[in-house]
């Protein structure tokens, strides 16, 4: 019997080596795998390259990881936010390298890694700073920049429900980078609110097929949900 289910988050993130490239899902706090990041923090892996849309919000999750000094480099589209004070401080202190990638190129580079595409021509960024030094080409009268895939050793993502084969469904805008990161990493670790019986996810509605997922761990329902249905924000962080 296939079972990708792990008992707890510490077990789920075990084996992440120093120097790994780690993709971390989420757009702001939505879809950010906070419990997995906490488990990564509880371990010792360091000199990490993190690929994520943002560079952390507030003080928890990705912000805490960045603040820990164990992130050598971050590849992201939007590090500077109202509540990105942790990243801002580390960056200004010169203690983290930043590779800034327009959000759509970031998403497409991750997608290309998962889909076995060697490189692709994108119109985004042509003629701007982010294209400096890159190969360009005019195709059918439009200008493009050549971009390469972004792959990872590990992806940490968050979904609503998963089964023991690793099939996942998400909720709302927390889907964001999860499905493409799952496909782009050698090892994909998904935290879910709930592990459900095999066969109880609608095959037409599965967003991430199980072959992209290596480990699944239940972290319990978020306070604003009951059986996956929104029950108000009273208890939300």
């Amino acid at each position: 019997m296939i079972s990708k289910v792990h008992e707890n988050v510490l077990e789920a993130v075990s084996g992440i080596a120093d120097g790994s490239t780690v993709m971390i899902g989420g757009f702001g706090r939505a879809g950010q795998p906070v419990e997995l990041i906490d488990a990564l923090l509880a371990g010792s892996a360091t000199a990490l390259t993190v690929v994520s849309n943002n560079a952390g919000n507030g003080d928890a999750g990705l912000a805490a990881l960045v603040g820990s000094g164990r992130v050598a480099k971050i590849v992201c589209s939007f590090p500077r936010q109202v509540d990105s004070h942790v990243f801002d401080a580390v960056y200004r202190a010169g203690r983290i390298e930043l590779e800034l990638v327009p959000q759509g190129n970031l998403a497409e580079r991750i997608r290309a890694a998962g889909a076995g595409i060697g490189a692709f021509y994108t119109p985004t960024g042509f003629g701007t700073l982010v294209a400096e030094g890159k190969e360009t080409r005019s195709i059918d009268g439009r200008d493009y920049v050549l971009e390469y895939p972004l792959k990872a050793d590990v992806a940490l993502i968050s979904a609503l429900r998963g089964d023991r084969w690793g099939n996942l469904v998400y909720r709302g805008t927390s889907r964001n980078f999860g499905p493409i990161m799952a496909a782009a990493a050698a090892t994909t670790i998904a935290q879910v609110d709930e592990v459900v019986e095999l066969g109880s996810l609608d095959p037409e509605a599965v967003v991430t097929p199980g072959l992209f997922v290596d480990r699944v761990v239940a972290v319990g329902e978020r306070p604003w949900l009951r059986d996956g249905v929104f029950v108000g924000a009273e208890a939300a962080s």
Binding site: R29, F78, R80, Q81, Y91, L98, L106, F177, W224
Partner: protein
Amino acid sequence: MSAGLDRAALAARIAQDIAEGSVVNLGIGAPTLIADALPAGLEIILHTENGMLGMGPRPAAGRIDPDLLNAGKQPVTELPGASYFHHADSFGMMRGGHLDICVLGAFQVSEHGDLANWHTGAPDAIPAVGGAMDLAIGAKHVWVMTDLLTRDGASKLVTECTYPLTGVRCVSRVYTDRAVFDVTAGGLVVTELFGDTTLDDLRELAGLELRDASGRHENEEMRS
């Protein structure tokens, strides 16, 4: 001259130009005001690049769902007819030309439609581009919503952008507090003046040649 339109009035003015059935992305900042100004009863589909079509207004207090955010990470709601998708699909919608309109803020717009809105170029600035470059090159119509002048009184409409670009020749229209400008092959055309702003005022403020199609002619040349 009078100050022209305030932000809310400008948002309402822009909303008037959005036809029913349009798929629209409203950039972070001032453009999000347009959502509240859309004509009631018309179906306009809002896209947010973090993976949603059919985005609804800000939720009531106590109904903030942390899984429902817009691109500015503000809480939103879901309308009937909504759909969710991942980031690669969402940006494929932009890059592939499937959005009718996006409205962005700007630091500068050149008379050729170059846009600068992500980076001041200041050496100590932390750069953050987000989805602006994808929106700029992707939507069928890229509109800019901005004050004509910076706080320092400099024109945001310029001959050539001095700030780092977001996109090359991508803006089709600029809505400012003083006037509306269409970007054409022949340069900027003023299509509408607000308050008691005159074309001469604009020419002086911006230091640009501006063609007049405002329908308000005073001492100006005829509509071309």
